[in-house]
Symmetry: C2
């Protein structure tokens, strides 16, 4: 989920300086317009420990008019608070219509901590998130504008910052025992946050994930996003209507995407490739039979550019897995019967019995890729598909399936070379169609769609693996390695369950 | 929740006979129209054991064209099913567009049983319901029409039927061991069903609770409701749009309501009243102090007709509870500050600290009573208020509060007598205003609003008590008795918690 917030976004000083004064003026103007509207504004600022939440809140406090603003933080419950139901402390701090409330910790914070430390169960956690959904929906329907920012920093950056803080005698006091404990549990904390965001990222109050390592970028992005939202909120004639198109507003024209940042300069010598291929295929044969006997089902999803080498990668897997316990499903246009059902029905149909290896050559992700880009699915349909797909995959994984998803990435030049080669070599001509050339024209649209797909559907239970595939050999090895690793882990989990 | 389905609704033979042939013809016509539309129709038939689900399903099967129809039931999982995720068995049975699927057991059934037998936790149960909500929402957004019927029979009727079945050697074989087990757990079963219905009763796929004791009424009501829904579904130009006004269609003009069925012929002699009053007030004094020390908070909500005696009943309670540990909150028009927040904010504000007795003279139910009837809240606002209120009250009760709600009911004549009396007696004149007379004109609208309120917000954790109040003395005793009983139970629960 946070992959797209680790691309090293920065804002140069000049751009910042050129914009900052006008931004501040516009923010104040928008805030005054808001005061006359009928909407309260709630700004939640979340993030892992030490992710500069405090700095951002201070900045907003500096930029906005504090007379129409309240800042709240929630720590340990007071006596007054613990004598009342859980949400009482938040209700008392909700801003009135026309005012802005900034929550530097919120109804999410405590529950995410509890999950990170393992003191509440997944079910209880989910129940709390359901309650949050009810609360936020209720407020939005009543006219509130809710902006939920999550400040993200990579683990390595966090670590470096933390160490620096602890070393410096002038800042060491900032680090509390809770911070230390949190930092130790960084991975669990991020995992809990991911789940919280996924369960509460809805159209009425979406999460906005901000890459937070560069201060200028962070502040300016949040500032621009708040500005755009305030302007939209106060300009609406019907005050009670929902604001549906809340999105991050980038402060500069440069748009980063996960795919474009992927390093495609991978290469593997032929002897190295042969050696690794043999080793991994042998391993996969062994693991797939073991999985069959242990009834661990594996589902592998392959998506990628035309001519990115999906077929070749799939063949290398099938060479290792016995045909009796595996199957490749190629997804083409749906049949009549399939078209007469919900688009997920055709995938539910093919769910394998326990123990098999099923490979999807293209998949349900068509909904948010080709159907989105070509307009076969309307806006509403592909937007809600992310949640639907996450829910579908969670059900598979809850049942114990091992689900791995691969995007094979090549650049535009490489694709052109491969297209041309296919047209020249007779036995490859069937592999290239007019449609491939048409898809190529929509390259940038697909980049955006893939970016959203990876951000919104990379979950702890079903992650995406982005495979640099300009070099076919290294791509195949990366896929095989990932499949073997995931199978080993799945078998390990099954062993534990059988014991437990 | 099921109060409104225990009013003894019946349909006479003549009305049934006059309508049945045309109904069947219209149903078939509607089914053909549906086949050309783009909608699948899903009809779920739920109900406690032995609530005649089977008979109803057979009747629908007889009335509709079976070529466009599938009937499904789900018992123990097959081998095939248990090797796949839980919902796989339902997905494979979903009807295609233009077809009707009748589910005589469904994605609800197993989970409700499990909860009734205590084999899954509340959190897991809730999680399953959340998943059902996702599934149903997904299908409805894709164009499906979902009708969820719950057939209700009173406990006593169920019991009699069950005994008769068991006695008769010709029918004894119908009763399975599971049925016997279920019947023993009737109350738990109903409680689990109530929770399931409450958590999944949403605008996109609402529950339709049918009083099922009279066969003719049951079949005709379901038939008319299905017909109206099919007609609406196939007449829509935009097939993907949600159908929002699904409601039960009564087969005859006569409309029953909870209030009108209430027996108002209660009377208590003065000496009896005095004796009971003294006994109950003494008891309440003792219980309220004990609750104070045990930190058990009590919230009593009073709603009722103008001049129904709320004030008098409240005074009898306050005479018994020390002023230092109690408070009466009279709800009038909201203040400016309150108006600038969500309507529930003013009630969250006043949530008492632990141990007190708080009495609301009118309450948050104004939203679905006066605000609904007078149009102060729009349709959307009061309709969603039921869920919001249930959620609010659940949070109070999860925190350990004892919440009791009273509706004081008098009939129209009694109200007129009291109004006249108030106008004649000088020291009572301040109690009667023009508004009271205006409200009286909307009597029937209020009856409908009260009926909906009780059905939709009577929960296992916060039940409504309907108090027949034509006789003031017996009304006061009933209120005091209910308060004492609830306090005793709440203290009992607290004792267990402290031990546990």
């Amino acid at each position: 989920m946070f992959e797209a917030a680790e691309l090293g976004r920065k804002l140069d000083k000049k751009t910042y300086k050129n914009r900052i004064n006008s931004l501040r003026a516009e923010l104040l103007q928008a805030q005054f317009a808001l005061a006359n509207s009928n909407r309260p504004v709630i700004i939640l600022v979340g993030g892992a420990d030490n992710s500069s939440k405090g700095e951002l809140v201070n900045k907003l406090n500096e930029w906005l008019d504090t007379r129409g603003l309240e800042v709240h933080a929630f720590g340990q419950k007071t006596d007054e608070e613990s004598e009342r139901p859980r949400f009482w402390r938040y209700w008392r701090c909700l801003p009135a219509k026309g005012r802005i409330g900034i929550f530097s910790s919120s109804w999410y914070t405590g529950t995410i901590y509890q999950r990170a430390f393992g003191t509440i169960s997944k079910s209880k956690f989910d129940r709390h998130m359901r309650r949050i959904n009810s609360l936020e929906t209720m407020l939005v329907k009543d006219g509130a504008l809710i902006l939920k920012f999550w400040l993200h920093m990579s683990k390595s950056h966090q670590k470096a910052q933390f160490k620096a803080l602890e070393k410096d005698p002038d800042s060491r006091w900032i680090v509390s025992p809770l911070d230390k404990k949190l930092h130790k549990n960084y991975d669990d904390h991020i995992k809990a946050a991911e789940r919280a965001i996924r369960l509460t990222d809805n159209a009425t109050a979406p999460w906005l994930i901000i890459e937070a390592e560069d201060e200028a970028y962070r502040d300016m992005t949040v500032g621009e996003t708040v500005l755009a939202a305030l302007q939209q909120a106060s300009s609406k004639a019907t005050t009670k209507e929902e604001i549906t198109s809340l999105a991050i507003k980038e402060p500069s024209a440069e748009q980063k995407s996960i795919l474009n940042e992927l390093n495609l300069d991978q290469a593997l010598s032929k002897p190295d490739y042969e050696a690794q291929l043999q080793r991994l295929q042998k391993k996969l044969t062994r693991l797939s039979w073991e999985a069959y006997h242990q009834k661990v089902t594996t589902v592998l999803v392959f998506e990628g550019w035309d001519a990115s080498g999906k077929g070749g990668a799939i063949r290398r897997i099938m060479q290792a897995v016995d045909a009796r316990i595996s199957r490749v499903i190629s997804i083409a246009a749906p049949t009549d019967e399939e078209r007469a059902h919900h688009y997920l029905w055709r995938f539910w149909r093919h769910i394998p019995k326990a123990g098999k290896v099923i490979i999807y050559d293209r998949s349900w992700y068509g909904r948010v890729l080709v159907e989105r880009v070509e307009g076969f699915a309307n806006d509403d349909e592909w937007r809600r598909a992310y949640l639907e797909i996450n829910d579908f995959e969670e059900q598979l994984c809850d049942h114990g399936l091992n689900l791995q998803k691969f995007w094979l990435h090549i650049d535009k030049d490489e694709q052109l070379d491969r297209f041309n080669e296919r047209q020249e070599i007779e036995y490859k001509q069937h592999k290239i169609t007019d449609e491939d050339w048409r898809n190529r024209e929509r390259w940038d649209d697909y980049v955006g769609a893939v970016n959203d797909m990876v951000v919104k559907t990379s979950t702890d239970y079903a992650p995406w693996t982005l495979v640099p595939a300009n070099d076919k050999k290294s791509a195949r090895i990366k896929v095989l390695q990932t499949v073997c690793d995931s199978l080993e882990q799945a078998l390990e989990r099954r062993k534990k369950e059988n014991k437990g």
